[in-house]
Amino acid sequence: MEDDKKVDVAAQAAAFLAQDEVHEPMHDKNLWAARMKRDAAAREVPEWETLRQLASQIKEHTLTHLLQYLTEFEKNATSRGAKVYWARDAAEHNQHVWDILREKNISSVIKSKSMLQEECGMTAFLENRGITVTESDLGERIQQLDDQPPSHIVMPAIHKTREDVAQLFARNIGTDPANTDPHYLTEAMRNDARKRFLEAGAGMTGANFAIAETGSFVVCTNEGNADIGASVPPVHIASIGIEKLLPKVKDLGIFIRLLSRSALGTLATQYTSHFSGPRKGGELHIILTDNGRSKRLGMPEFWTSLKCIRCGACMNTCPVYRRSGGLAYGATYSGPIGIILDPTFDESKYSELPYHSSLCGSCTEVCPVKINISDQILQWRKVMAAKKYLPAARRLAFGTAGKIFEHPQLFRSAETMASGALKFTPNFLLYNRVLNPWGRHRELPHFAGQTFREWYLQYKAKNNEHGT
């Protein structure tokens, strides 16, 4: 049954909250701290709101002239000696990677963070073909050792405590389970992976920005791990989503200023590496990948989600995400941006995600490229409701409520009934049992002895008596 594979994000978030008294408070606190650092960093830039506006306009311009810029990028990258491939979807992307590795007889790769490669399920695809894939980003490596996808697009293991990591490393790479010192753990991870770094036949990266004018691309990291991948092994393969394009080098400054401030509140990432063609004696392969992007570009309400620069600020600020943990979303992308991207991959599977939001709107206002995320969440609800993806009980309750609100007399009698029985839920006429978990953590509100309307009728009558 189709419904069986629906992600029940509310239940998974509830489980994250209920696991203990440690994980959720820590997750909330750390991500809120990132949001606070972002505010402080943005406050130092007087033209912050102008930068957001410019970034948004540049992205919208590029996305509406995408063919032109992609063609320009391909031409320039090729003339610099890179080999450019096109991939319509995940399967074509993975096939290109596999073909390149097979031709060179490469059996081991190191990779840095790439959400696109996550989207494509590339690691599992390669491992099935006997390739050893090693994540070089610390957070990604933690998630890889735990056999979990990243829970945050910038901080992949942010849902784990230091103790969790110490336990995990103790099991996998033989560290002392009692030692939770981050430096110790980081060093241990690097020592364990170093041999694989040195032996890898290819390094894989993503890209944060690709510049049409020069055919070069930029990778931003804080650990410098993308640089190892790109400079130690002889072959560098970069997976680039077609929405990553910027027209000119001079556009880049705006985005670099916004990206790391929005993500972590730092002025820039530790490493902002520009790749323009293969290095001496090496090879550079660039896979320009669509995987649903051009379909999204054709969706009038949702195309601006392609402006996303994957900074994660909307996740850090989201009060629902902070209390849910990213894994609850059961998808490549979690948090607010995940809610609006994931359904473009599978509407039925992710049909509950748009309801996992209080629609507070903080994501929209924090987003450095001004995506109207919150409006798109509501827009997705309209899609889900129109396509009848809502659970039947819920549809029925809202249908009934709609009927009652349509007729004033029905409404009055429902109101009286509700007050008599004290079966009140905030959404009033939804006192269907399925929809009635109000009382688990909350007292029921008390009904007033007299409604406002009753008071008003008396008040008017009294005023009329007195001739006013």
């Binding site: 209920a18 309209k382 409701a385 905030p426 953590h441």
Partner: protein, 247 residues
Amino acid sequence: MKVGLFIPCYIDAIYPEAGIATLELLERFGVEIVYPLNQTCCGQPMANEGDQQHSAAAEQLFVNNFREFDYIVGPAGSCVKHVKYHLDAIPQDPDVLHVRERTYELVEFLHDILKVEAFPWAYFRYKVGLHNSCSSIRGLGIARSSEIMGTPFNKSAKLLQMVEGLELVPMDRPDECCGFGGTFCVTDEAVSASMGIDKVHDYLRHDAEFVVSPDMSCLMHQQGIARKAGIHLKFLHIAQVLNGGPF
């Protein structure tokens, strides 16, 4: 100036004193105010769910009830936000557009239209935690949200500061969502409750005695949370404070 008073369903039934305070307050400023008797709901609960089909009739009734007024004022940010920005399940004829443009949340109306400068009758000798709802801040713009850079402003705080004796306490996360979110509070009960508990503790950490808001729906949720946890905080609609009652 003829003003239609919009009293959302939950204020009608549970918090009539917020409605009474709104009406009395506006009358003090000489506004001619009428409460159309056939009102039910603006359609928000259904529309929030994405259910355009079932919100259409409620929206049409709302427009029929209020189209004759110069202004429509409601003491509820989230309902007003729905009317202003999301009442789109029905064809956008001139009546609909008029109603959408002329509907104001109470704080906005006092601050922007009546340009009120004093509440001489009001006196409130308590420490107050202010809760501007997300709809009021990020939807209607009654305060600058913390995400946006620039000179801060806060219309409801400005009005409350005109009340003699009242002390506003600072908060750690002043505009963090409290987790009400309409249907969200029942469909996503665990996360919603966790957000509410954190909110209530923020007031407590700053010794607030009262929580005051232009949005009673958020307070209904916060009050429910506080009561269940045995926390003695009191919750009032901003109209009650500005009008000096009824409490």
